[in-house]
Symmetry: C2
Subunit: 84 residues, 2 copies
């Protein structure tokens, strides 16, 4: 069994209005030093397989096909064995 984490972020060239709104919220809390807030998605999943390479390949394929819109978003992922 493996546990995968996928981080999906908007590409740098794409405006992030949600991030801008959160940034304004952070400033209004008094944290003026904060800038360039970007919001992304964080997806976790368990994959029932014994082979790490299989789990990594599946995670990458799922990210490309379903989780990330590669026109606007990029992703990174990591896969670790589950210690039971």
């Amino acid at each position: 069994m493996f546990h995968s984490k996928v981080f999906v972020t908007l590409k740098k060239s794409i405006l992030d209005p949600q991030g801008k709104a959160v940034e304004q919220g952070i400033h209004s809390l008094g944290f003026e030093a904060v800038a360039n807030v970007r919001i992304g998605k964080y997806i976790e999943m368990d994959i029932d397989t014994e082979i790490k390479a299989d789990a990594e390949r599946m995670t990458k394929e799922i990210s490309e096909k379903l989780l990330a819109n590669l026109v606007m978003e990029s992703f990174s992922c990591s896969t670790e064995p589950v210690i039971e």
Copy 2:
């Protein structure tokens, strides 16, 4: 200058219908081995300070006050210097 990453996830005891929907999508793509899909938020920000402890404290405070709803969500964060 420091770069902070915050991961906000629903607590284990809270149902995640969005994760369930994504899980069904993953299964319908043919990845039957995937289970326990959970969706969270991933927030990145730059913090303009010279002191790492300050950046870490700010990240934690912002997460607690604004980014995470601690009744339903938990968060983890990391802060690294920006290499320019």
